[in-house]
Amino acid sequence: MWFDYLIYVFLGVGVFFNLLAGVGLLRFPDVYTRLHAGTKCTTFGSIFIVGSVILLGLKMWIFDTNPAVNSPDVLAIHAAIALVAILLTNPTGAHALARAAHRSGVKPAQAIVDDLDKKTVKKKKTSKKGEK
């Protein structure tokens, strides 16, 4: 049935992008590019893998008269909640990490001009003067 092949394609795409995340973590030169690989690729891959689980649960719930899982609708809904949790938390954590890395003084590799540098330095100086 074509629905099973669709699910296999979803699993394949998700696994491919998760492997790309690992390769990118190993190969990229500095923190920001590694963050790019390690966060975006895993978010995209987990959308497809968890999506295939949701599709399988919905298929069992609708079409199968005697499903293999006890309650496939509950399984699909919980997998959807897990997907929403990943989608909410993963980019937010990546943003916080990039901001923390820049504030703690890690420079991008091979960077000539850092546009964010002046702004953060200005902010720090004014806040210190304001506190004193």
Binding site: N18, L35, T42, V50, V69, N70, I81, G93, L97, A100
Partner: protein
């Protein structure tokens, strides 16, 4: 004996390979943010692996554990980022 279909076993093996590559980055990362990026990646891949495993062994409880694990890893990542930034809580 737990019986897992071969497709899901292959998917779990590939995810484990990705976790291994991220773990190499955690071990030899030059700076502290590198290690935290590796840990964040490992967390996300473990969540996906939990969902796949919970479907493969046909029990919903693993997916519930994955939801809680997602929010706990998010909070830990935020706190580590705040610590690296040097701010006050």
């Amino acid at each position: 004996m737990i019986e897992i279909p071969t497709v899901y076993l292959a998917v779990l093996a590939a995810l484990f390979l990705s976790v291994l590559m991220a773990m190499i980055r955690v071990i030899k990362g030059p700076t502290a943010p590198d290690r935290i990026v590796g840990l964040d990646t490992i967390n996300t891949i473990v969540i996906v692996g939990m969902v796949i495993f919970g479907f493969a062994v046909k029990s919903v409880i693993y997916i519930d554990v994955a939801i809680v694990y997602a929010f706990l890893s998010f909070i830990s990542t935020l706190f580590i980022a705040k610590y690296l930034e040097g701010g006050e809580f």
